[in-house]
């Protein structure tokens, strides 16, 4: 069995009195694409934020490469190799694409490495090369999403977490973005993604988790979930 890069055990997260994540557990193995699917308000994003270090879980533990990282702040976790592309992209609107990407490599001090990564990224997303000096907020939604993913890659993460990539993108673009996720995965980056576009997400994933009102209600290989009547009815409208 391939080794586990991320293990989340029984975590619970609260916003004030409201419990958003109830006793969730999951794992991501090295080199895998894992999808968390589910409707709005299922606690998926909160789960992602707690792994990324933006929300501290009240109970439970999170381990990355065997070391406990529960409650560590986001600015430390990116140094360990966890990169989180947040929902809604959150680009630095007034900065250029290039500056956004350079900020993605903020933890890297070696300019040579930053340059190499930029070249690699421009190869993966040629459109960003064209838009290099354009301000981030002047690009289309799809381009912004690519820029956000690219920014997340600039720190050369071991685990890339992608939150609602498809949000606000037209279907043809969703497919394109998913293709680039696969391409990134082929380079050896483990990927954890959260999606409402269930079919598209499961098609590229090895395994999946189904979240419902704060709990993981089901897990399995992507194929199992895609074939499951329950999942098809609830999330794909079939």
């Amino acid at each position: 069995m391939s080794d586990v890069i991320l293990r989340v055990s029984n975590i619970s997260c609260y916003y004030g009195q409201m419990q958003a994540v109830k006793d969730m557990s999951l794992e991501v193995r090295r080199g895998e694409i894992v999808a968390i699917i589910g409707a709005n308000g299922a606690g998926k994003s909160t789960l992602m934020k707690s792994i990324a270090g933006l929300v501290a879980p009240r109970r439970g533990t999170i381990e990355f490469e065997g070391a406990k990282i529960t409650g560590a702040p986001a600015n430390r976790l990116i140094r360990k190799g966890i990169s989180y592309v947040p929902e809604g992209r959150r680009l630095f609107a007034n900065l250029s694409v290039r500056e956004n990407l350079e900020l993605g490599a903020f933890v890297e001090k070696d300019n040579k490495k930053i340059k190499d990564r930029l070249d690699e990224i421009f190869e993966l997303f040629p459109i960003l090369k064209e838009r290099e000096h354009q301000r981030a907020h002047t690009m289309s939604g799809g381009e912004q999403q690519m820029c956000a993913i690219a920014r997340g890659l600039m720190s050369a993460p071991k685990l890339l977490m992608l939150d609602e990539l498809s949000l606000g993108l037209m279907p043809s673009l969703v497919e394109k973005v998913m293709e680039s996720v696969v391409a990134i995965n082929k380079k050896g980056v483990s990927i954890l993604l959260v999606e409402q576009m269930v079919q598209e997400a499961l098609e590229i994933s090895a395994r999946g988790y189904v979240a419902q009102v704060g709990r993981i209600v089901r897990e399995g290989t992507a194929k199992e979930l895609l074939d499951s009547d329950e999942v098809r009815r609830a999330y794909m409208g079939m």
């Binding site: 933006l54 600015n75 947040p86 680009l91 630095f92 007034n94 900065l95 900020l103 903020f106 720190s155």
Partner: protein, 286 residues
Amino acid sequence: MDFFVQVLIDGLMNGAIYGLVAAGLSLIWGVMDVINFAHGEFLMVAMYTCYWIGMLVGLDPLFSWVLTGAFLFFLSAGSYKFIVRRSIGKAAMAPLLATFGLSIFLKNFCLNRFTPNFRLLSGTSLEGKVTHIFGAIVSQPKLVTAIFSLVMLCVLHYMIKKTRIGRAIQATAMDREAAELMGVDTERIFTLVFGIGGMCVGIAGGFMTSYLAVFPEVGALFSLIAFVVVALGGFGSIPGALCAALLIGLVESFAGFYIAPVMKYVAVFALYLAVVLVRPKGLFGW
């Protein structure tokens, strides 16, 4: 004609100095959304520091600004770490009241220790010296202060736009959580920004001591003008602050000379009201 040049140069010099005083306030406001009500009092503390260094050690403000700048950096960063930080994320008014309390404390501390009397540092190297520019008589201490303010503003602008740490400051200002995800320790950036804000008035205050009397209330007018400058210039923009400050300096100077000296602040604040009514985000704000 002579008078015109005189008034113009006076206005520009005052403006440049206001620019440096306001830059610190603008930076803190732009990055952290915190209004530092103690800003003027930091200026006052800087002036007292410079005054006492001059009195006790005999060091000229031309050199002691380095010390006051450094001292204010730490004083301001420390006030953030120990006072302001604890008030952020609580009630909306909390940081405001915290810095307001700090300003009252500093003012009364100096009132208690140093009396309300005006103190002018005498015997400085530039004291009473003047330069003639196109027929205008320009006080050298003030000219040096103005020029140095401009230099500092350029350095600050360059630092924010071009350096790695400046990028991190910009990122924190735009989206704190996203900056955190890039690996920026935004808590440290906040401390740094507060420190830099203090350093601006530290340096300004250091130089100003060479021509301006120190007293516990000296910060009040400057901080009021700094607020106007920041509101006109747009929050967080250093070039905006400089342009607005020069404008304020000119309006003050021309209104004072061509209308009446008592009218100069009326003109300044009337301009402020007009701009806020017409363009609430300021002349250069985003």
